[in-house]
């Protein structure tokens, strides 16, 4: 199989990788580009632990072939450390006890970050709907939902 050169924007910086067509983005990010925050939970688009932003929209990185993201932009939590909205989310997740084992956490942060950026008016139903594709086995979701709602109230006052 011939290698394909793929160029894309990762966390604000241009990157280039050589990949085989059947390489999935999750593996490229973790094994070739050192992005360990994107987690492997099922590799079937069923758990959400590998969620990233593709042109600002949350998607499962295990369900993307790296060749498909040529010319696109990818964001992971690693690139958001200085972002004000992200910092508020992290603060609330931390203070409210929304993080236990932490394996699902980057995925939830990416999804909720995208939610808070895309929608102006957010109800609790909107939050539940937005995170329905992120599984958590530890927290029972309650404190995660509270952290997201709290962040929303913060930025709206």
């Amino acid at each position: 199989m011939a290698l394909v050169l793929v160029k894309f924007n990762l966390n604000g910086h241009p990157v280039e990788v050589d990949v085989e067509p059947n390489e999935i983005l999750l593996n490229t990010l973790r094994n070739k580009l050192g992005i360990k925050s994107v987690k492997r939970g099922c590799e079937r688009g069923e758990c959400g632990a590998c969620t990233i932003l593709l042109d600002g929209k949350p998607v499962y990185s295990c369900m993307l072939l790296t060749v498909q993201v040529n010319g696109r932009s990818i964001d992971t939590v690693d690139g958001l450390w200085n972002n004000e909205l992200f910092k508020k989310l992290v603060y609330n997740f931390t203070i409210k006890g929304a993080i236990q084992c932490g394996y699902c956490t980057p995925g939830f942060l990416i999804t909720s970050y995208a939610l808070l950026r895309t929608k102006k008016v957010i109800s609790k139903e909107d939050v539940l709907k937005a995170i329905e594709g992120n599984l958590c086995r530890c927290t029972g979701y309650k404190k995660i939902i509270e952290a997201i709602m709290e962040t929303y109230e913060c930025i709206h006052s």
Binding site: R44, C101, E132, T139, Y141
Partner: protein, 785 residues
């Protein structure tokens, strides 16, 4: 010369137990690992794997449910370039024996496979694509044997044996005899008898099992492992490799969820990775795919429980007779211990003067049973609590009122004849919970609502449970930890307790040290989950804080005693007036006479004060007679109650959990936010277990739904609409750090009972079988009509 008598563990535990004002204990302080985890910096096992620089291990699993292995041929597989080796039981240098309770379990199948999914071989390759290719070329020739899928059938049969040497399929038995049950029943005015059935459960932790074994410079094998008990993993690896423990080192990074599953499977993953690393001399990485994780690792047991109970007209329990059958799958694993816990807890948290319990752990050709939050208790509490509701109904009593008449109180004996002297807050807690939620009024309102509603029916149910903390009966339990203070005043704690998400090392241990030493939290670093720490027992049985932190408390307390004496000398003050708070050392009532923590430590170094200590505590236990199931069962019990309100759509069988009211009598609550997190997580996990999760087995015992689409765990949209703030009764445990008992498993244990009792109330029929998936409940409702 300083006399060391002030370092007696009992005195130290007791001294801190008496504390009334706290700096950090009882506060919801933030975990030390939250920020790392949010930023994606926290490392789990796979994060240490370097693709193509370390060997990738692919497992070959059995495609048969019960068969003799006649031949394993991997010649073709070895021909693929990049394949370093294929390993089977023949390559194990030490002992191919990893059985936990009984020596019945090989690491790699030898001679026979006993369940579909059992590991037969390991392929080591430099990249995973080659490993997969090689797996396709491995030829195993099986001679099929008849398969046993049901425990009741396996119980009877001697012609089909899962373990031939045994002569039967009964892996283990328990017995409990107290008083005279026949007399008890004859004295009873109402008798209820039912058979209850519960099903398996898959842990579905977000992180599948993984281990990375690295042969290191000093000739030790370091394994980055997800095991919940580093010293057990160390022992298993050493045994499989035929090495002394001192040549094996276990290190735990953050672990993505355990719930008991990684307690059982963690050491085996570590052993498989270690085997390859040992034989090849190269770092070797093994991660189970989600499908492999579901197929291979032990599940919550499925149980069949026959339960007979009798009570008098004035509402007092007289006798219980219980038969418990656990489907232990292909290997006993924790089966005997799970069975003992179920046996001892069979009565529920009530005073029962006459009890007869028989327990059986039965082999079948399915994935083994093992540790999962509750450890045999949820299924027996489901049965016991259903019985309580039935008795109450027959007596015309309110379910809570009936329970309050029978709950254990200080001074009473359990069904093992153990006298409970203290830390029995259950009756207080249930009374408080019932009052705060207005139980009686709510039940009445729901009854009235149901009269007016035909399709939708609501129900309010309660489950009250108990759970012995620490290991059962005479099984030794202890705590141990090591603390040292560096010259700059920073504190390092070494503990074998791992961080599986429950937060013991990252919150309660830190809080305890901060409280005892008086240092700011930022100065404390907990090195957790390492076999280099003294063996302090496993992170299971809700003991991470309750027992695991006793050692931490003691080590800190010893150092504190030494520092108190030094400070008293330096500040020219009486010993009992020395206060250390948030890094400031001062005299009570005269804060001007002070020094900083750093200064005190500097002085300690120059004065020759030993600033390191081990805190070792061996839990005093009484004797237990295994033949009659009588004696000292547990040092203490945590008590938990959950009231649940449901709404059942009787036309589809779908159940909505509207509200949950938790109550907990678990001693001192060290960190309320972490405890709430455990309760909320357990409630959702319980909702999954009862209402939507079900492992489906095929005719070979193979798991048909080995993925997260068809094994449906709750999403955010499936959680209850409301969970109230828990009602706490802090019934202090005299050996627990600041009086804490265990919390991790608690809220799960009464959940199946509470939901089933609520549904029973809603539809007017006793639920005796789980799960209550929409289809199953629909069938039950249909049968009523």
């Amino acid at each position: 010369m300083i006399a060391m008598s002030y370092e007696d563990p009992y005195e130290l535990i007791n001294k801190w137990l008496k504390a009334r004002e706290f700096i950090v204990i009882g506060k919801g302080i933030t975990r030390s690992d939250s920020l790392e985890k949010a930023l994606g910096k926290a490392r789990f096992v796979e994060d240490y794997f370097e693709d193509s620089k370390m060997l990738f291990i692919k497992q070959v699993l059995s495609s048969e449910g019960h068969a003799i292995i006649e031949e394993i041929n991997y010649d073709e597989a070895l021909k693929i370039p990049g394949i370093v080796g294929v390993y089977t039981y023949k390559d194990i240098p030490g002992e191919n024996q990893v059985g936990y309770a009984l020596p019945d379990q090989p690491l790699l199948a030898e001679g026979k496979v006993r369940y579909h999914g059992e590991t037969v071989a390991l392929i080591a390759a430099w990249d995973y694509e080659k490993a997969f290719k090689a797996a396709e070329l491995i030829r195993i020739r099986y001679r099929s044997l008849p398969i046993l899928l049901g425990p009741l059938e396996a119980f009877k049969r001697k012609d089909i044996l899962v373990h031939d040497e045994l002569g039967s399929n009964i892996a283990f038995k328990t017995k409990l005899r107290r008083g005279d049950v026949e007399k008890g029943f004859s004295e009873s005015d109402v008798v209820v008898e039912n058979t209850y059935r519960t099903h398996h459960q898959e842990h579905a932790y977000l992180e599948p099992e993984a281990a990375l074994a690295i042969p290191d410079v000093e000739g030790r094998l370091t394994i980055i492992s997800c095991a919940q008990y580093p010293h057990l993993a160390q022992k298993i690896v050493a045994r499989v490799l035929g090495l002394p423990s001192s040549r094996v080192r276990i290190v735990s990074p953050y672990i993505g969820g355990g719930f008991g599953g990684k307690d059982d499977e963690g050491p085996l993953v570590a052993a498989k990775a270690a085997l390859v690393a040992y034989l090849t001399g190269k770092p070797a990485f093994l991660m189970y795919s989600r499908e492999e994780s579901i197929r291979i690792h032990p599940k919550r047991e499925a149980a069949v429980i026959k339960y007979k109970s009798g009570a008098t007209a004035d509402g007092k329990l007289r006798a219980i007779k219980v038969t418990i059958i656990h489907d232990t799958g292909a290997y006993a694993n924790r089966g005997p211990f799970i069975l003992w816990r179920a046996t001892v807890h069979a009565s529920g948290p009530y005073y029962v003067p006459n009890a007869w319990v028989d327990g059986y752990c039965v082999y079948t050709n399915k994935v083994p049973q093992g540790s999962f939050r509750g450890f045999g208790n949820p299924s027996v509490q489901f049965a016991a609590e259903a019985q309580m509701d039935e008795l109450a109904r027959k007596l015309g009593m309110d379910p809570v009122e009936f329970r309050l008449k029978n709950l254990l109180r200080p001074g009473m004996e359990t069904i093992t004849g153990q006298l409970l002297e203290d830390s029995v807050g259950v009756a207080d807690m249930v009374a408080k919970l019932s009052d705060s939620m207005n139980w009686k009024k709510l039940r009445k309102e729901i009854d009235e609502w149901n009269i007016k509603s035909t399709r939708y029916k609501r129900g309010l149910g309660i489950g009250v449970a108990w759970h012995g903390i620490s290991t059962s009966r005479g099984v030794p339990d202890w705590s141990n930890a090591y603390i040292k203070i560096d010259r700059d005043g920073s504190v390092t704690v070494y503990t074998g307790i791992v961080e599986i998400g429950q937060g013991s090392p990252t919150t309660s241990h830190r809080q305890i040290v901060a409280e005892v030493l008086g240092v700011p939290l930022e100065l404390i670093n907990v090195v957790f989950g390492t076999s280099d720490a003294p063996d302090g027992g496993a992170t299971h049985a809700s003991r991470g804080t309750s027992i695991g932190a006793i050692g931490v408390l003691l080590a800190a307390a010893k150092i504190r005693e030494r520092l108190n004496r030094l400070a008293a000398d330096l500040l020219k003050a009486p010993l009992e007036k020395i206060v250390i708070k948030e890094g400031k050392v001062f005299v009570q009532g005269d804060e001007e006479r002070s020094m900083s923590w750093k200064e005190l430590i500097e002085k300690a170094y120059s004065r020759g004060i030993d600033l390191s200590a081990t805190g070792y505590f061996f839990l005093p236990k009484g004797s237990f007679d295994n033949e009659r199931g009588q004696g000292y069962a547990y040092p203490a019990y945590s008590y938990v109650a959950l009231a649940i309100m449901v709404e059942v759509d009787t036309w589809t069988g779908k159940v909505k959990v509207l509200k949950a009211w938790p109550g907990l009598a678990a001693g001192k609550i060290i960190n309320p936010i972490q405890v709430e997190g455990q309760i909320e997580g357990a409630i959702t996990q319980g909702i999954g277990y009862v209402l939507m999760e079900e492992i489906r087995f095929g005719s070979k015992g193979e798991i048909l739904n080995a993925d997260l689409t068809d094994y449906t765990i709750p999403t955010a949209m499936d959680t209850p609409l409301e969970i109230t703030k828990p009602v706490y009764v802090e019934d202090i445990f005299k050996y627990g750090p600041f009086g804490a008992k265990g919390v991790g498993e608690m809220a799960f244990i009464p959940l199946p009972a509470a939901i089933a009792n609520a549904v029973s109330h809603a539809i007017g029929k006793r639920i005796t079988e789980l799960p209550l998936t929409p289809e199953r409940l629909y069938k039950i409702i249909k049968s009523i009509r």
